[in-house]
């Protein structure tokens, strides 16, 4: 057979591509559920690490099934809010309904454009609320989960992650426990500007809403600072109004008086 004729070439390439596509579609279909389960468990680990449900190392050595169970045991309610702070959706308190990282990117755009958003709030037992933050680092997106005390302005814990920041520099936002631990006990200065300040020597001034940036990771720190401020701003009206339960409102007032 003449393998160099035009007809043969066209038919051959078409067949090869169709076969490759069929194989990949089949495999993607077969492996899809377990990939989703992995991504979901990863997000839950990061949220629960921020909320302080268990130590980070322990969460990362727990299997997916254990993570789902732990989340189901500890979550109180999960819902979404709009930019005006009102609830516009419920995320059922089961393992099946959380917003994964890929949902945060379009939301980040929508926040900046002032469009319609469904920002997730996860309230764990004990009144710890966890919210995501998302922004651009040096090489790719950076994101994280910030847990608030019941007063909804004191940070209880944080966990950060990134797609491709420089190992040893920007990657420290994820790798170094001391960095995320610095956020515990800090407050977000709702009502003033900036809400939060992650910058060089920021802690020296003694402000409670400041954390020192990472040396040698200027762009990652800047990106994370913007992510924090943009997302805190988006959640401001909701977190400040400290919705629903009356007791939470009291806690907020009490804290303010102190």
């Amino acid at each position: 057979m003449n393998t160099n004729s035009n007809v043969y070439t066209v038919v051959y390439t078409t067949v090869i591509v169709v076969i490759a596509a069929a194989v990949l579609a089949f495999v993607a279909g077969k492996l899809g559920p377990s990939q989703d389960a992995n991504a979901k468990a990863e997000t839950l680990r990061q949220m629960m690490s921020a909320a302080g449900i268990k130590p980070t190392e322990e969460l990362y050595s727990t299997k997916n099934a254990g993570i789902l169970q732990l989340y189901a045991d500890n979550i109180e309610e999960a819902y979404t809010i709009g930019l005006d702070g009102t609830r516009n959706g419920e995320l059922s308190a089961t393992k099946d309904n959380i917003q994964l990282v890929d949902k945060l990117k379009p939301q980040n755009k929508a926040i900046k454009a002032g469009g319609d958003v469904t920002l997730p709030v996860y309230v764990f037992k004990g009144g710890i609320s966890v919210i995501p933050v998302y922004g651009a680092g040096l090489w790719g997106p950076v994101w994280g989960y910030i847990a608030f005390q019941p007063d909804r302005r004191t940070i209880a814990g944080a966990y950060f992650d990134h797609e491709s920041e420089t190992p040893g520099l920007g990657a420290k936002i994820k790798d170094e426990a001391w960095f995320r631990e610095k956020f515990s006990g800090k407050t977000v200065a709702f009502g003033s500007a900036p809400l939060f300040n992650l910058a060089k020597n920021a802690e020296a001034a003694g402000a409670t809403n400041a954390v020192d940036a990472i040396t040698g990771a200027t762009m990652t720190s800047k990106g994370l600072n913007e992510a924090l401020n943009v997302w805190f701003k988006a959640y401001e009206s909701h977190l400040v109004s400290a919705v629903a339960p009356a007791e939470e409102e009291q806690t907020t007032n009490a804290e303010e008086e102190e």
Binding site: T3, N4, Y8, T9, Y12, T13, I16, V17, A20, V23, L24, V27, A28, L31, S34, Q35, N38, A39, E42, Y60, K63, N64, G140, E163, S164, T166, P167, G168, L169, G216
Partner: protein, 203 residues
């Protein structure tokens, strides 16, 4: 025949090592060698991809229209890479490593070793020797990756496979973690390799 097969397997690991002799696949050798675990998974992935792609392309070698052979090879290689990536993503234990390697698994497609072996070997040889040639080249590549990662993780983080090896007082060397050090290390490996093997020395 036996001797030829042995040559096929041993040559890429020693005299014809894709990284130190052919200087292919340098980019990923710099990028994924910060930690041993990542380097090991990358080495396995590349070995699988080169082996299987060479095997499939060798099976098809008599049917591929020569004018579009690179495109056909690319389709095969891309398919293998996506398969490896999907499988890594779906495993509970490998998910974290896949995340750490991020784009570099996908970039195996652009690794010159894969296409290089198909062009140079698989298109002219039977499927089984091609499979072995591909696997051996992957092993040769992986071996260098692991040597580089060993030093970078040990000196850059004081750990091996995430386990603390150097005493707690050791201050990790930041230069070692950054890509330029991998280049320096690679240079040293090539130097040692050439010093040991007289055949590789150019005057």
């Amino acid at each position: 025949m036996d001797k030829k097969l042995k040559e096929t397997i041993l040559n890429p690991i020693l005299k014809g090592n894709p990284i130190t002799v052919l200087v292919l696949g340098i980019c990923s050798a710099l990028a994924v060698t910060v930690q041993l675990k990542g380097a090991l998974v990358m080495a396995l992935s590349v070995t699988l991809v080169t082996g299987l792609s060479s095997f499939v392309c060798s099976l098809l070698r008599n049917t591929i229209p020569t004018r579009v052979r690179i495109i056909v090879q690319l389709v095969v290689v891309a398919m293998m890479v996506i398969l490896v990536d999907q499988i890594l993503k779906s495993g509970e234990a490998t998910y974290a490593i896949d995340k750490q390697l991020s784009v570099y698994i996908g970039l195996i497609i652009t690794n010159c070793i894969v296409m290089g072996r198909i062009e140079a070997f698989a298109l002219g040889n039977k499927p089984i020797p091609s499979l072995l040639d591909g696997l051996a080249n992957g092993v040769g590549y992986g071996l260098i990756l692991i040597i580089v990662a060993f030093f970078r993780e040990l000196l850059g983080s004081g750990t091996l496979f995430g386990i603390q090896i150097l005493p707690a007082g050791y201050i990790p060397n930041n230069l070692v973690i950054l890509p330029p050090f991998a280049l320096i290390l690679l240079g040293c490996i090539i130097w040692v390799h050439r010093a040991l093997d007289k055949d590789l020395q150019e005057d």
